[in-house]
Symmetry: C2
Subunit: 206 residues, 2 copies
Amino acid sequence: MSKPALQFWFEFASTYSYLSAMRIGDVVAKAGVAVEWKPFLLGPIFGAQGWETSPFNIYPDKGRNMWRDMERRARALDLAFVRPDPFPQNSLLAARLTVAGLEEGWGEAFARGVYEVEFAHGLSIAEERVLEGILIKAGADPDSAFEAARSPMIKDRLKAQTQEAISRHIFGAPTFMVGDELFWGDDRLEQAIDWALEKHPAQVGA
Amino acid sequence: MSKPALQFWFEFASTYSYLSAMRIGDVVAKAGVAVEWKPFLLGPIFGAQGWETSPFNIYPDKGRNMWRDMERRARALDLAFVRPDPFPQNSLLAARLTVAGLEEGWGEAFARGVYEVEFAHGLSIAEERVLEGILIKAGADPDSAFEAARSPMIKDRLKAQTQEAISRHIFGAPTFMVGDELFWGDDRLEQAIDWALEKHPAQVGA
């Protein structure tokens, strides 16, 4: 029997993905569930809905609530939280680096580092010198990492992953997939884990 | 010292408000928190954002997830759940009746009855004969209830309540208010209760 598993689909510009990225390792380990990290881009998904920026910028009261909710939730999780400026951040290069890193073994540590620098320290994750420091801390060689991130293969892989997200009806981040079962939002992580463990009412969807 | 309290802002067309309406009574009683029921209309709030229907209809993948999430969540709460047709339902008359009923003591029972008929049985809450049965079960006199609901005083009161929601940055339902602290979504009810009980980190927002 294979180990129960879920996929963690995340976007670096996403505030709630930060919460999940920082806690998912401990939570799944405790539950005995395997996790696969899946970076993707929300830009094309939002763009297809006619949004040129985050819905939290387009709808002010929704944004106001998100910042306050994040502040409360980060505090409850003992996580530092600052509002990045600008928001949302350009996450393209960080996502490409993560795709490269996940193949080389430093992807998860790098992804956590990106989230920490962005949301705990408020630095710009679009800047190479910021990403370079994160790469070094994650145990990567910056030169070869940037080279890989600029290669057509890695660029195409991130595009394909974003296309996969769209085809699987992913519309926001974080999203947890257990097979074809979709759970949206950091506050659904525990439900996704229960689903992976088959601790759910058999009747649903039967 | 007054009893800790929160306000429950709800809209009859809202799926997640159904979950809260059916469980809030038990949950706040157990916690020792008072609850004030506040019906309002999302139509004017959505309309101001350019939405002519529910965002769950406008954004198909968001809607797809909501229906599935509701199905899972209702099952976990042992609540029946069917998809009303049409969705969203016209909730105007039910909301006006609730405003009248909250003054006369049968408002909460009536509101729960409306949600049950709509989301457990799939009936149309825009129809007077459906509402009449709910009124009788809630202990109201249907004739005088409908007369009150059609009075300028009750109509104005619902309008004023919706205006209050807008001015307090409410943008969706259910919303729980503890003073000026806003909690959006059924999945934030427990956090709102903790806030009312002052079981929250003092540093947040300090």
